[in-house]
């Protein structure tokens, strides 16, 4: 017996693959008939092959626990998530539009602040943003771009549309897992790639490399690009090493770099070598002990001086995280209209701002229905998911909101879409998921084909973060119209 597809029920949620019991949505039809053709043993063999492949490929992420850091095998589900190509093209355009506007916005904030003067965004929102860096005022990075790499979280609602849940403009991670998921998939289900017209994802590293080299302050043929990692204890170290390898860039830690006369150098076997572009995977505050946290050993003393002097490019630029603030997020539709004079192609999730008296009253009265998020956290930490919360937790959050209303926003609990996920031997059940495409902007802009699909492995859970038990799936953009298929 293979998986009992006729018993699969997604209920009230939008399911990515199944439209009604036993029937697939159009882009997933070939996939489903392939899956139906597999026996129980064949499904299991593929699941085990994926697990073995992950261990051999050494795809892992680090979890911080009280007993120390544990390197865990990357959690992966062999049933892919499928999106139609024509829908993806609109999403692609929406993501580029959004990042373009966000970069104009960040650039404005560090220069004239027209958007505040024109009364679109209240000044105190900016003044109280923990990610605004006064140290960056007046600086003009190449192409006016501050956030070169953005990992936008999208969710699909019951209406089948994608909504933007978060813009991650600081040091978004996950793209290596998107690439590795595809390699794993090709190894364990090669047959299906012959049958379905799946768009490739592999050009991301070279697009990233092009984006980075275009930022070089020196007009030389081969600018030196390095990936700056906090080191092996960081949860995304795997990704840092992976991207460095894929780009042919040097992977460095703060101790491998030194600043002299406002230029950055690496310590090499032949002495010091000048660095042009740093893809930094360290938070702003740890970048430079001269400028931010004085006791940071992860960063490089003098790095900010070198950047301000225009002798090195930093991606993302320090201060780009100001637009990551979840209060700012609520204004993004206005930001797009203000700078581009266009309507947003991708909608936001409805957001209540707790600093506003009226909206705060509404939030406090409906805590059991809403999701409350701190304005500047990432990784799914410090949130309240109303419908899944206890009375005590709600009281705790009510107190937090009242003490610091500017620091909280609330959103309706989303009906995140689901996809069939293997939860036991030969059993597929719906699990909620989101999607993180990666957007590049520099001289040109680029969006990954699909992105990283993260799955909440627990039944009914909406938490997809791998640090909190989430899993992942390969994401297919499938052409259902043209071509030989």
């Amino acid at each position: 017996m293979s998986i009992a597809w006729n018993d699969y029920q997604a209920g009230e949620f939008y399911d990515e693959l199944i439209s009604s019991p036993g029937n697939a949505r159009k882009p997933a039809q070939k996939l489903l008939s392939y899956l139906k053709s597999l026996s129980e043993q064949e499904v299991d063999a593929r699941r085990l092959a994926a697990e073995a492949t992950i261990r051999e490929m050494g795809v892992s992420f680090t979890v911080y626990t009280e007993e120390g850091n544990i390197d865990r095998a990357w959690p992966f589900d062999i049933i892919p998530r499928v999106i139609a190509k024509n829908q993806w093209q609109q999403t692609d355009a929406g993501l580029k539009q959004r990042l373009k506007a966000l970069n104009m916005f960040i650039d404005d904030l560090y220069h004239e602040q027209k958007i505040i003067k024109d009364g679109i965004i209240p000044e105190f929102v900016l003044k109280q943003s923990s990610n605004y860096r006064a140290e960056c005022e007046g600086i003009s990075p190449a192409f006016g771009v501050w956030a070169h790499i953005c990992g936008t979280d999208l969710v699909r609602h019951t209406d089948g549309k994608f909504y933007v849940l978060e813009d991650n403009l600081r040091v978004p991670s996950g793209v290596s897992y998107m690439l590795e998921n595809r390699s794993i998939m090709k190894r364990v289900m090669p047959e299906v790639f012959e049958k379905v017209d799946i768009a490739p994802v592999g050009d991301y590293p070279s697009r990233l490399f092009d984006t980075l080299t275009a930022l070089s302050p020196r007009a030389i043929e081969k600018p030196v690009v390095v990936v700056l990692t906090p080191g092996i204890y960081n949860s995304a170290y795997f990704e840092h090493a992976f991207l460095a390898q894929q780009m042919g860039a040097e992977l460095v830690e703060g101790s491998d770099l030194v600043v002299q006369d406002d230029c950055v150098y690496t310590k090499t076997i032949a002495g010091l070598e000048r660095v042009d572009v740093i893809y930094r995977r360290i938070d702003d505050l740890f970048l430079d002990p001269e400028c931010f946290h004085r006791d940071s050993v992860l960063g490089v003393a003098g790095l900010m001086r070198a950047w301000r002097a225009g002798n090195v490019a930093l991606a993302n630029a320090p201060g780009a995280g100001v637009a990551d603030d979840k209060v700012i997020y609520a204004f993004v539709p206005e930001v797009i209209k203000y700078y581009l004079d266009e309507s947003p192609l991708l909608p936001n999730v409805e957001t209540y701002l707790c600093y506003d008296d009226k909206q705060r009253q509404h939030v406090l009265a409906n805590l059991d229905k809403l999701v409350v998020k701190p304005a500047n956290e990432s990784g799914g930490y410090g949130m309240l998911i109303g419908p899944h919360s206890t009375k005590k937790e709600r009281e705790h959050f009510a107190a937090l909101i009242q003490a610091n209303p500017r620091n909280y926003i609330a959103q309706p609990t989303l009906a995140l879409s689901t996809a069939p996920t293997l939860v036991g031997r030969n059993v597929a059940e719906p699990r909620h998921l989101d999607l993180r495409p990666f957007v590049l902007q520099g001289k040109d802009s680029y969006v990954t084909t699909g992105g990283l699909t993260r799955v909440a492995m627990k039944k009914g859970s909406l938490v997809v973060n791998s640090s909190q038990g989430g899993g992942s799936k390969d994401t297919w953009i499938v052409d259902t119209e043209g071509g030989a298929n």
Binding site: G58, I232, Q245, V252, D256
Partner: protein
């Protein structure tokens, strides 16, 4: 190339070589001890002495028997030279230098590591030990083969070659010394036992076949020492390792003074071996060689690796 990366790549090669030679040594001993008359007191503990691990071993075990020695050399994570420790070090080094070594190195390292983790008990028990060790040796050779066949000859390559040859030279001196020490312990004038001992030294270094073809004579102490020290064609001979070390250094930046100094001191040292040297004099010479190799390592470290304050 980053100084830190150079250091890690160098150590990756050293550890890889160490694992292969440890696995080979245990395989050979397994066979050798069956051949020796009971009067000869060659014991498993020799493996510990060869690697200068006496104090580490004695701290952990009171009985110097086969089981404890094999356990210590294969699976003891407190022994920095054990197979599991060396593999853990390789994995950490490859993980942090993935940008300069071939992508498949990482996968092969993981595979070898997983195999050892899952089958360690097989290696400690005697019945399936050969198969276990043989798989490890093949795993190491697979990684070497991958690198030799595919890696561009850039700085990372020269550091790999440097590490590998330094570790090999060190292992050759240790094996020769173990043979010389064992022969000195043979009281009767027993040619048969001596031949077994020197034959073991050759096999441990995978040099038996080459010896027969090159020397075309019986296995004797002075001939074996000559062959392992001076034959430029044998990959594990001191001469060959030394030439490879010099050559690798020459390919790396800022190396001219180092190369000249290494040549000079090696030539001076070589005068102490005249082809007839044996017994205690041979052991003294091997000791000088080891001191020299330790110095080569220090010089390399000071020239290219990061300065830790």
């Amino acid at each position: 190339m980053l100084s830190k990366v150079a250091e890690r790549v160098y150590w990756t090669a050293r550890y890889l070589e160490r694992i292969e030679s440890t696995a080979r040594l245990i395989t050979i001993y397994d066979k050798l001890l069956f051949d020796l008359p009971r009067s000869v007191s060659l014991s498993w503990y020799n493996l510990i002495s060869i690697n200068s691990l006496q104090s580490d071993f004695d701290e952990r075990f009171s009985v110097r028997d086969e089981r404890n020695v094999v356990k210590f050399m294969l699976g003891d994570s407190n022994n920095p030279c054990s197979v599991v420790s060396s593999l853990a070090a390789i994995r950490e080094n490859v993980r942090t230098t993935r940008d300069v070594v071939l992508q498949e190195t990482w996968e092969l390292t993981n595979e070898l590591n997983l195999y050892v983790q899952e089958n360690l008990q097989q290696g400690i028990n005697r019945s399936k030990r050969y198969e276990f060790l043989d798989t490890i040796i093949k795993g190491c050779q697979q990684i070497h083969g991958l690198l030799y066949g595919n890696m561009p000859h850039d700085a990372a390559w020269w550091f790999l070659r440097l590490g590998r040859n330094l570790e090999r030279a060190d292992m050759t001196t240790r094996n020769l010394d173990a043979g010389a020490a064992a022969v000195l312990e043979v009281i009767e004038d027993d040619t048969y036992v001596r031949q077994i001992i020197w034959g073991t030294v050759l096999r441990s270094l995978n040099a038996e076949q080459g010896y027969r073809r090159t020397v075309r004579g019986p296995v004797s102490g002075s001939m074996v020492a000559n062959y392992l020290l001076l034959d430029a064609n044998l990959p594990r001979s001191i001469e060959h390792c030394f030439i490879s070390i010099l050559d690798s250094c020459e390919k790396l930046p800022q190396s001219q003074p180092l190369v000249e100094q290494l040549k000079h001191s090696y030539d001076k040292l070589s005068l102490h071996f005249d082809g007839e040297t044996n017994g205690a004099a041979l052991r003294a010479y091997l000791n000088e060689l080891q001191i020299y190799l330790a110095k080569v390592h220090t010089d390399i470290r000071e020239l290219w690796f990061p300065k830790y304050s």
